[in-house]
C-alpha cells in the first residue's frame, strides 16, 4: 500500500538550533500513528511543517503522492486539532463546525442543505447535540475539544494532525476522550497523526508509535514492540517504565554502580568493555524480604523502600539503593496482591536476567 504521508529528511533550524534534524518516516492510509516526544523534541515543529505553517529548511513532505512544499495550507487537505483548540471565539458551536464547509475554497458548489445536514450529523457524532448555539465561553473544556474535533473532521481531511489534543484536559476527561478519539478514528477511517508527550497516551492510542528525540527519530515501531523493546536508553527513559543503570559489560556480567548483573539470556548483550546501559521494566521486578537473597541465576540488588503511589490498576513503589539511585517497581493489581512494604525497610529486588535489556 502506498503511504499517505512520507517525510524525507526534514530539517528545520532556528538560528543554530536544529529543531528537526533529518526526520524521515511514512504513515499508511487509515493508520493511527502516535508521535511521542518530550517537550523540546521538535514534535510541534514537525506538525507545523506537515500542516504547511512552516517550511522545512531541507527535505520534503510527500502527501498523497505529491510533494507539497509549495502548496499552501488551505489547499493541502490536512486537518489539524490544536492543543489550545484554537476555536473561533466569535462563533457559536454550530458556526465553528460549519465554518470550513461554508468558507473553504474548493467544493463551493456544496449546497446549504447538504452542509447543514453534515454539520448536524457531525455535531451528533461528537455528542454536542443541544449545544449548537452556545458560545465558546459557555462550554466546558471537554466540549471545546469536541468542537475542535468536529470542526476538523467535518471537512473530511485525508489526514488529521492532533497536537497534544488531550493536554489541556483534566485527567478524568483525558481518559474518556482517549477512547472517543480512538473510536472516532475507527468509525471514520481517517488517518490520524497524534502528537503527544505522554508515553501512556501514545502506547494506548497509536497502532504505530514514532519516537522523536532532540529533532531525530529515535524509533518507529508497533506500540507493543516499542514497549517491550525500546531501541535505545533514550526511548526507554521516555517510556517511563524502565529502570536504567549505566555501566559496562565485563565478560558475562553487566557492571554498574549499583551492582553486577548476570547477562545470561539478557537481550542484545553489548560488546565487552563498551559503555552501555542496562534496563529493567518496572513490572518485571519482584520484591522480596532481605532474608531471601538473590540466587545466582537471578539479577538483583538490595534497596530500601521509600514510598508508594496508587494509580488505578497498579501501584508504583519507589526504592532507594545505598548509593541513592531510585528504583521503581510496578505491581499490577490484577496480578498481585496490593503490596504492603514497610517504610525504610530493606528489601531484595530481583528479576530474571532474560527480562533485562542491555544497550551498547
Amino acid at each position: 500500500m502506498q503511504p499517505l504521508l512520507t517525510l524525507n529528511g526534514i530539517e528545520r533550524r532556528y538560528g543554530d538550533v536544529a529543531a528537526l534534524d533529518g526526520v524521515s518516516f511514512s504513515v499508511a492510509p487509515g493508520a493511527y500513528v502516535a508521535l511521542l516526544g518530550p517537550s523540546g523534541s521538535g514534535k510541534t515543529t514537525l506538525l507545523r511543517v506537515i500542516a504547511g505553517f512552516e517550511q522545512p529548511d531541507a527535505g520534503h513532505v510527500v502527501f498523497d503522492g505529491r510533494r507539497i512544499r509549495d502548496i499552501p495550507t488551505h489547499r493541502r487537505g490536512i486537518g489539524i486539532v490544536f492543543q489550545n483548540f484554537a476555536l473561533f471565539p466569535h462563533l457559536t458551536v454550530e458556526k465553528n463546525v460549519s465554518f470550513g464547509l461554508l468558507n473553504r475554497e474548493s467544493e463551493t458548489n456544496m449546497d446549504r442543505r447538504a452542509i447543514d445536514a453534515k454539520v448536524r450529523d457531525m455535531i451528533a457524532l461528537v455528542g454536542l447535540k443541544g449545544l449548537e448555539s452556545r458560545d465558546m465561553h459557555q462550554i466546558s473544556g471537554g466540549q471545546r475539544q469536541r468542537v475542535a474535533l468536529a470542526r476538523t473532521l467535518v471537512t473530511e481531511p485525508r489526514l488529521v494532525l492532533l497536537d497534544e489534543p488531550l493536554g489541556a484536559l483534566d485527567a478524568n476527561l483525558r481518559a474518556r476522550m482517549r477512547d472517543e478519539l480512538r473510536s472516532l478514528h475507527d468509525r471514520l477511517g481517517v488517518t490520524f497523526l497524534h502528537v503527544t508527550g505522554s508515553e501512556a497516551e501514545a502506547l494506548a492510542m497509536g497502532d504505530t508509535i514514532i519516537v522523536l528525540d532532540r529533532g531525530r527519530i529515535a524509533q518507529v515501531d508497533l506500540a507493543e514492540s516499542i514497549y517491550n523493546h525500546p531501541a535505545s536508553p533514550q526511548v526507554a527513559r521516555l517510556l517511563n517504565c524502565y529502570n536504567l543503570f549505566e555501566g559496562a559489560v565485563e565478560g558475562r556480567e553487566f557492571v554498574s554502580s549499583v551492582g553486577r548483573f548476570p547477562l545470561d539470556g539478557a537481550r542484545a548483550p553489548g560488546r565487552p568493555g563498551k559503555a552501555s546501559a542496562y534496563a529493567i521494566r518496572h513490572d518485571r521486578i519482584a520484591v522480596r524480604p532481605v532474608d531471601r537473597p538473590i540466587s545466582p541465576d537471578e539479577a538483583g540488588l538490595a534497596a530500601t523502600f521509600v514510598a508508594s503511589e496508587y494509580s488505578g490498576s497498579s501501584v508504583l513503589s519507589f526504592f532507594a539503593t545505598a548509593g541513592g539511585q531510585v528504583i521503581e517497581v510496578e505491581d499490577h493489581l490484577s496480578l498481585r496482591e496490593p503490596p504492603n512494604y514497610a517504610q525504610k525497610q530493606g528489601y531484595a529486588l530481583a528479576w530474571e536476567p532474560r527480562d533485562a535489556l542491555v544497550f551498547a
Binding site: F53, F82, F88, T92, N103, T152
Partner: protein, 280 residues
C-alpha cells in the same frame, strides 16, 4: 518607605495637579454664561445668560461681535476627520498586518511610519505647501491637508493595531487555513471580527486627532477654513465669550463621540452572543 508621610503628601500633590489640569476649563465654562453682547471674557459675571450660545447659532440679534464661522468649517472638519479616519485605519491595519511576518527593511519602515507622528505639524505643513507650490497644485483642506492628516494619524492607528496583533492568537487563523479556507477569506471571516475592537480604537484615535488638528492644516489647506483654523483665527483679534461657549460645545461633542465609541465597543463584545440567539 515612610508611606505614612509620603502617601498623603503625594495624594495632595496629585489632587492639586488635577485641579491644575481642569481649572482653566472650569473657568472657561463659567465665563461662557456671561451676559452678552456687552459682557467680556473676564470676571465678574455681570449676569448669567445663555446669550453667547444663542450667538453661536445665529439666534442672537446682530451686534458688533461677528459670529464665529462655524457652520461650514464644522462640516469640513467632520468630513476631513471622517476621510482621515477611514484611510489611516485601513493603512494602519494593512501595515500592522504586514509587520506580523518578518520582512527585510521592517526596521526602517517602522521608524518611517512613527516619524509621521513625531515631526511637528508646522514643518510638514510648510513642506507640503512648498511641494504644492513647486508642482503648481492648489491647496485644499480635502487634498493637501487631508494627506497630511493621514501622515499624522496613520502612525497612531498603526501602533494601536500593532499592539492588538501582538496579543492576537495566530492559531485561530492557522486553524481556519487548515479547514481549507484561503488566507484572504480567513482574514475577513476570522481575523477582522476578532481585531474589530482594536480597529474601533484606531478609528477613534484617527478621528479625534484629525478633528482637532490645525498646525498641519494651517499651511496646507488653502482658503477654506476647518474648525480649528476658525478658532485659531480668533487668537489674533479680541476674544469674546462666544469662543468659550463654543469650547464647551466641542467638548460635549467629544464626550458624545467617546460615548458612541464606548457603546460600539460593548456592542461588538456582545454581538457574538446576540447573533447566536437570533440565528438559533
Amino acid at each position: 518607605m515612610q508611606s505614612a508621610v509620603m502617601k498623603p503628601a503625594l495624594a495632595l500633590y496629585t489632587t492639586l495637579f488635577l485641579v491644575f489640569l481642569y481649572a482653566p476649563f472650569a473657568i472657561l465654562a463659567i465665563l461662557s454664561f456671561q451676559t452678552g453682547p456687552e459682557g467680556g471674557p473676564q470676571f465678574p459675571i455681570i449676569e448669567w445668560s445663555s446669550y453667547w450660545y444663542q450667538h453661536l447659532f445665529g439666534l442672537a440679534p446682530p451686534s458688533r461681535v461677528a459670529p464665529l464661522p462655524i457652520g461650514e468649517s464644522l462640516f469640513r472638519s467632520m468630513t476631513l476627520a471622517f476621510m482621515t479616519m477611514i484611510v489611516s485605519t485601513v493603512l494602519g491595519v494593512m501595515s500592522a498586518q504586514a509587520f506580523r511576518s518578518r520582512f527585510k527593511g521592517s526596521g526602517i519602515v517602522f521608524y518611517l511610519i512613527v516619524l509621521g507622528m513625531m515631526v511637528p505639524g508646522v514643518l510638514v505643513g510648510l513642506g507640503m505647501a512648498l511641494v504644492a507650490n513647486f508642482f503648481g497644485i492648489d491647496r485644499h483642506w480635502w487634498s493637501t491637508a487631508f494627506v497630511l492628516h493621514v501622515v499624522y494619524t496613520f502612525p497612531f492607528a498603526f501602533l494601536v493595531m500593532l499592539a492588538i496583533f501582538n496579543r492576537f492568537d495566530k492559531s485561530v487563523e492557522e486553524a481556519s487555513w487548515s479547514l481549507g479556507v484561503s488566507p484572504a477569506r480567513t482574514f475577513r471571516k476570522v481575523t477582522f471580527p476578532l481585531i474589530f475592537p482594536g480597529v474601533l480604537s484606531a478609528m477613534l484615535f484617527a478621528f479625534t486627532l484629525s478633528y482637532d488638528e490645525f498646525s498641519r492644516t494651517l499651511f496646507a489647506s488653502g482658503r477654506d477654513l476647518t474648525l480649528p483654523l476658525a478658532i485659531y483665527g480668533t487668537f489674533a483679534v479680541e476674544i469674546h465669550p462666544n469662543v468659550f461657549a463654543f469650547g464647551v460645545l466641542t467638548t460635549l461633542f467629544s464626550f458624545a463621540l467617546l460615548g458612541v465609541y464606548a457603546i460600539l465597543m460593548s456592542l461588538s463584545v456582545r454581538r457574538a452572543r446576540r447573533i447566536a440567539i437570533q440565528e438559533e
